[in-house]
């Protein structure tokens, strides 16, 4: 007979077989988000010579159901940047509140400090990477469009793993497959951005949104499009 303390008060192994301690566990292992629920699809963006164009449709899908059809997925931040968010919509709403509180604290003092798009992208990438390291990711992919510290056009992405990526044209979700190759015809290299006009960029994005509506079953024909330049940014319904 086993006289060791860990065997006290338990059925004897030699009579009942080895004791299965897993039955004592009252808690399941902690699990966080393992898949998104209500989702938004692609976000597209193109840099041009003095700004960035960004677009995302207004649909939030629940699986294959087009659940909400007036969801704004472009989120302006302090007139210098716009964040386009794809992926889980409730996580997007959390990010929206996070940016809201950041905006509130940034505006306590009126002495002229403001976060530019580059700062904002750095911040968001830290948030996303922290969450993935906690194994509790925010299920989104974001494009941050705007101007950097030198008022140059800025465009960069961050995803649920905290991975960041920069390019003159960017597209998330289905758009990464369908729109990105088309957008690269506009500018496939940083050096070409200087030759892209605003009209050309807007036209390319609109064309891609159309292609996506035709090919992506989780997309919608109503979308938001925004242009950020030195003169400020504005979101339009489409």
């Amino acid at each position: 007979m086993n006289h060791l303390p860990q065997a006290w008060g338990r059925p004897r192994d030699d009579v009942y077989g080895p004791y299965d301690a897993s039955y004592l566990q009252s808690r399941l292992p902690q699990a966080h988000t393992q898949s998104p629920i209500v989702t938004g699809t692609s976000v597209l963006a193109v840099k041009f010579k003095d700004g960035v164009v960004i677009a995302a449709d207004n649909l939030a899908s629940y699986g294959s159901l087009a659940r909400f059809t007036d969801v704004k997925r472009l989120r302006p931040f302090n007139s210098k940047s716009i964040v386009g968010i794809g992926g889980d919509v409730s996580d997007m709403q959390y990010l929206d509140r996070l940016l809201n509180s950041l905006d509130v604290t940034e505006n306590y003092s009126s002495t002229g400090h403001s976060l530019n798009a580059k700062n904002l992208h750095t911040y968001l990438s830290k948030v996303m990477y922290k969450r993935r390291s906690d194994i509790n990711p925010l299920w989104n992919q974001m494009l941050v469009a705007g101007l950097d510290g030198n008022d140059e056009p800025f465009l960069s992405s961050v995803d649920l793993l905290g991975t960041t990526f920069s390019s003159p044209t960017l597209a998330t979700g289905f758009g990464a497959h369908l729109a990105q190759p088309l957008l690269r015809k506009v500018a496939d290299d940083e050096s070409k951005v200087a030759d892209v006009t605003r009209e050309r960029a807007v036209e390319a994005v609109k064309e891609c949104m159309k292609v996506l509506f035709y090919r992506d079953a989780r997309s919608l024909d109503r979308y938001s499009i925004a242009v950020v330049t030195k003169e400020g940014g504005g979101v339009e319904g489409g």
Binding site: S109, T111, H113, L115, N119, T122, N150
Partner: protein, 264 residues
């Protein structure tokens, strides 16, 4: 014997509404050797008089670089300053890490101010026994702040704290109008001369006891920052020479002409 019953801790108001412990902490600042700070439209300068405990010992550090874009000068308990400067270094680094931007000076100053305020309102803590001048450059240009043990922080055009600093302040007030448009070299010169004013008779500025810290907006590029540069030891020599020479010129009633060209 106590001066009164209201000065044993920082959680007791006197009948006049004063907090003596905080006032006593400010006295510690006045015991420290003098430091001077000046800001122009393009640069900030910190100048300090270092002290050594005895002939053979080294000199106490008075100017500390915190981040690329700013530094501090201290008067009072150096160990308290170290706690605050470590805190500032952490915060500056955190700002770089999370936003990729140099921390706005106003913000870091508010943070140490708030920290210092806590120790004036809670039993079992003591106020910091140090005054600081925080000088640097951020997105909105060059700034100079004064920090006091009470947690009070103020943005200044020029400031001097520490022993006999009144003389330096008098110099600063007299030359207040010249600072805004002063060049980098002129600003250093003003700092050293203000410092010289507050020296006791038997002392003079030497390469051993003077420290200078400078930051500014770099000439090339609109938002580039000139990294905080600390001049210590032999590096101070040329700066001192230029300052003293111009003082002599002014003394010999010749209006100070071109200040001597000093290369950093």
């Amino acid at each position: 014997m106590f001066r009164n019953n209201y000065d044993n801790d920082s959680v007791t108001f006197s009948p006049q509404g004063r907090i003596f412990q905080v006032e006593y902490a400010s006295e510690a600042v006045k015991q420290g050797s003098v430091v001077v700070g000046i800001v122009s439209k393009t640069h900030t300068v910190l100048v300090a008089l270092k002290r050594n405990a005895e002939e053979l010992s080294s000199y106490q550090k008075k100017v500390i670089g915190i981040d690329e874009h700013f530094g501090i000068a201290l008067a009072g308990l150096a160990s308290d300053a170290r706690v605050l400067s470590n805190f500032m270094k952490q915060q500056a680094l955190a700002s770089k890490m999370t936003y990729g931007r140099p921390i706005p000076l106003e913000r870091i100053v508010t943070q140490i101010g708030d920290r210092a305020q806590t120790s004036t309102q809670v039993y079992g803590k003591r106020p910091y026994g140090v005054g600081l001048l925080i000088a640097g450059v951020d997105e909105t240009g060059p700034h100079l702040f004064e920090f006091q043990p009470s947690g009070m922080t103020q943005e200044m055009i020029a400031c001097a704290i520490g022993a006999r600093s009144q003389m330096a302040r008098t110099y600063l007030e007299r030359h207040l109008d010249e600072f805004a448009d002063a060049s980098r070299d002129e600003l250093i010169k003003h700092g050293l001369l203000a410092l010289k004013e507050s020296l006791s008779q038997d002392k003079e500025l030497t390469v051993d006891n003077a420290s200078v810290g400078v930051t500014g907006i770099a000439k090339d590029g609109k938002r580039k920052v000139e990294t905080f540069k600390l001049y210590d030891g032999s590096e101070v020599g040329p700066l001192l020479e230029a300052a003293l020479e111009s003082a002599e010129l002014a003394g010999g009633e010749a209006r100070e002409g071109e200040s001597m060209e000093v290369d950093s």
